[in-house]
Subunit: 264 residues, 6 copies
């Protein structure tokens, strides 16, 4: 296959791939959400797609079209759903989307499905969709299996120390910060404008949510920490750690023989 | 703005755009569906996105991330949902997706929403989502409006005659045929392999549906008519007709002053 | 059985019928919708019920109670949901109704279900309900099958030429026009008042939908073309064509031995 | 108007009616359910429609198309959903149907909606639909009101004594018994075959439900008490009591000036 | 086990219990609803939980956590949902809760589930949830069974005569009356304040519902009949009758060997 | 009021409370879930209820009946939904329950609603329900506000150091560990049996989920870390920290004048 992105390949090539015992499909899940003045709205979708692609190349897997819209952004992890630029799904729609798509892949013959998440708030609603999809598929006798992961959970201590030499303050404030900005500088440098990056102290997040949201709880930039310190080099460290970790986990769970399935 | 695709622009630029009275967002709706051995699975998503982009450039509108998965393919218009390569949503999920996204854009301030459809089977489920979204938004006092269209409905008689010199046999059998192939040859030539195109007579469609589907009702190629005769030149005729027609309709309905909003 | 309408027969007779291998149930799907000043609101329900009855008599099938309410009328096929006299269901309710009723018939032993549609806007939502119902029934081991059709799709070229000697302008503008009026003049003459029919040129439909609907897009009469030219004789031509075509299709798909099942 | 059934009247006459301050629409709710060997499957739909018609004539109201399918029959009131001949809706579908239809009538201008129920098991699901419909309509500023009733709740002590001279044993066992049979003998005599009526003691109902249902809990006839004693004369007593009671209740709640609205 | 309430026992003891062939779980269903000035809002939840506990002790069953919120209170059985103090669920949520919980118990191995209802308005929505849960569990091969009952349906004629020496006026007006008050005086005496009980004639209920509710239809006290005459002694008569009746019914349906399963 | 638990107070006292400007209702959300051999299944429900009660006493707030069933337990935070003893809701049901109950309290006049969560997996589904409930209530003009919190997010660094002198290993493995056990030893000592506590190293959690769950991923005890080290004294430290923190947050957000509202 010339591409790991399934939208680019034809139905016959695809059918031949699915019929292999180790066929694996990775579905990237992102969001359309503000990421400050220095990065575009599509960061979560772009990163989950690119990371899925890198993992797929390593494993000989296919990448499905990205879920481009995500669950409502929350002030404690993404700035909040009230910010202009953030376009969201309800929980039921996101869950339904995952259930439908996972079951559709399983009906075509896939027994190995992975969802690679790139937007914190999505996780539980995707979990529910996958749980139902796998349960229903297995009721009908299919040998269906699925995995769900958020890519940042594969960044280890060593990488964190290299990327955050002054100390890592926690994933919750990484929205629009060093992690995402570094990965974007590596993967989509033309879509980042560091001259517009706002340098401010990390947001002091309150340990609860309020409704309706209070705009004053989110920094004016929309980022929860400063992207200063982001670089393509750090993006490379992060990407390598994530791709290695995710690929290893999928191999281990699905017993994939990498060499056989490799793209070329 | 450097791009009409909103995932590429930052939140501040986006917010400035939305605050303009004539701000318009176009949401492309496609599918992930087999299109024969000569074209990739993403044809409907790619075409609706590209056409939306061309319309947006003309109007100074923005294009939202594409709805990449569509309603179940049917034998009378797309070959059928049983074909490997076709990954579909239920009606409720597609409707929910449209309702959520349209309402989310309206909540950010958009009063002019357009959905440009590129997969026949989507239409009624999108209609339902838009009808509810606009109704709910207006209940809360918003001056929300929306339009829904399928791009091929803007190809006029004259263009049909030029593209189908031997006579046009109807939209229903155009799945994977001259229309889509010509547009792909123009817009994504590297993703079409005409050497793999299968030349066969048009499918003789029965005027009803059966459940479960009968695979024998769809030609083995997955296309409902032959792509022979497709060319990038014909794609240009089709694209120009569609973009002109759609842009004019949006201008007329939304009273858009094109010059002011133009990308440049 | 004295009647093909199952509401008229008793449970024991019904049970004996269902236990036959060729037992077939036809469910008419209509709407409650304005049809101009010369016809009643129940046209779609009345026609789908009467045509189902004629088909059932020919095949020895039973007709279930009509789905009297349909999906929202659209300006491009029925005048629009904003017209007084049009009372509609949401897509989800119509789909749920079809799913519940089809599954209920299958649970009683029917393996041959037909839905005969008489309201354009219903089709996709019925499709979704049938698709799910058959899929679920088959998961539990039932040999369930279903068919879905709109009656006008069985009017052939020859009939169209006889009924529309000045040329047929397309099904989309037939709402309240010659087709429906002729069938009503044949089947329910007392419910048509041709003295109130409005003669006007065919509606010029735009190739897209807008929300909220613009009442000015629909002719004041509520009909999309003139009923002038309608007659009971033409109704007979249409009915014969439809009943023959539908009955043949059901026979072919379900291998029905007509003589055995005939009502008498 | 020539008919109280709105499916029989045209849109202009209907629109004129709706615009009157006292316009009232009655929606009959029935079921498709076995009623023993002596009565047809459509009893609940037929009776609710006929009674609604009689009430409407008295009040000058309109009758909407009947809800012909009802909630699952239960052994303690209708024999049970497992009986062949009983075709049912889920609770959510019935509720959705009521909500959609009631809101659709309210959107056309009706402020006075009545649902007249003829199938015991429907009541709570209709209640939920009406409660939501009226609440939503009032949120948008409409002066919407609704009533819900089951017709047998209007049979008073005196009538009971006349109809059941040997003592009335309770509504729960009236399924297929004297009440329904008498009304059918009056209103649809040709659809009753008393020679097939089975005379057996009243069913001894247990005060609880079990799942899955136990067919042995329902008498073989499908009726919960004997129809012996049914007659058209008793049907007349019952009908008069019901129609008077229901009409009076509607008049009182909706302050209807009977003389003005009368059909004639 | 030291307790019949499963929230009080540990997972290992619970697992050992579930693995027994006669393991039975009783789920109490109540409401949070006004019960006049002399009783607390939790009456329905408290009574269904206490009665379930007494039945469980007799049978060696376990009692699940109570469903503390119920379906909307209605004027004809509970005063109405508009009363301050009444906090309710929609029908769909209550049905979903029952379906989820019943299926979850069945997935853990329970084949004998009972729901003991203490709030009139809940019954049909619980029925729907149980019907679906048992059907789905059985589709997957489980030998699942369920029972549904309202506790007052087990009070026989003899008990009624003892508790209501002046004549029993019907269950519909028992909300906040002698039945519930007597049981509370027995089971939770500290939560009843008879000095605040209001003595008034029984409510004259109309035989229909209206929307929106008319507060004037409910007595100011919120009770539909006077609690005068309530006493702990009468509570004992009622409780004994109910516990005996319910336990016998469960034993009979589930063939439970009481001695073996007893708590001690 | 004699109790902060609203199920214990009567409707008139409740109505008087709700009419105060500072009336606040706290809804505890728990689960029914295995917590190892040394603790009962109801831990999450018991702790969220008790903590809510302590906060309510401090603030003069009321505590609503606990949501006793929670979202599906996950291996990375609660051991997993496959463990016997874990009885769960789907995401949609939990969201619906929160939406219904929150809206019901708002309809009675509460403008200050708090949900205090005690089961990790619940959070996002409660968030969705509250977000919708507040949005809908505000659409109808109500001045509704809500807060959502998980109690352990209020345990500060200092308390962690006192409770975990050997170092705190993270909230994710606290299921059935020192935190919950200490609080239970303080609040419900008779329901804890430390002699059955299993001492094992903390679970090594994988950074992703798989479907279907792999029982081997959870320690045999069902706890993710050892409860050794738990004590009522440490429970007191934890409780004081949580109650102070939560009460302060509610006071600050809702501007509550504590002295006025205090229970005494």
């Amino acid at each position: 296959m010339q591409s790991v992105y399934l939208e680019d390949i034809d139905a016959e090539t695809y059918a031949a791939y699915v019929s292999q015992p180790h066929a694996t499909v990775i579905i990237p899940a992102g969001a359309t959400e503000q990421h400050g003045p220095h990065m575009p709205l599509g960061v979560d979708a772009m990163l989950s797609r690119a990371i899925s692609g890198a993992v797929a190349e390593k494993l000989g897997a296919l990448v499905a079209p990205t879920l481009s819209y995500g669950y409502k952004s929350q002030p404690r992890s993404g700035g909040g759903n009230h910010r202009v630029g953030t376009t969201s799904l309800s929980g039921a729609t996101l869950t339904g989307q995952v259930e439908d798509i996972a079951r559709s892949f399983m009906a075509q013959g896939f027994t190995k499905v992975v969802i690679l998440n790139g937007h914190f708030e999505n996780y539980q609603f995707i979990y529910e969709g996958l749980e139902v999809a796998v349960g229903r598929a297995r009721e009908t006798g299919a040998d269906a299996r699925a995995m769900l992961l958020s890519y940042w959970d594969f960044v280890g201590e060593e990488t964190l120390e290299a990327v955050f030499p002054d100390g890592f303050l926690g994933w919750d404030i990484e929205h629009g910060g060093v992690l995402e900005t570094s990965l974007m500088l590596l993967l989509h440098p033309s879509k980042v404008d560091m001259s517009r990056a706002v340098d401010h102290p990390p947001a002091l997040l309150k340990p609860y949510d309020i409704f309706p949201e209070d705009p004053a709880r989110t920094p004016a930039s929309g980022c929860l920490s400063s992207p200063r310190g982001a670089s393509a080099d750090r993006g490379r460290l992060l990407l390598d750690a994530v791709v290695d970790g995710v690929a290893s986990a999928i191999e281990a769970e699905y017993s994939l023989p990498v060499a056989v399935l490799g793209v070329k």
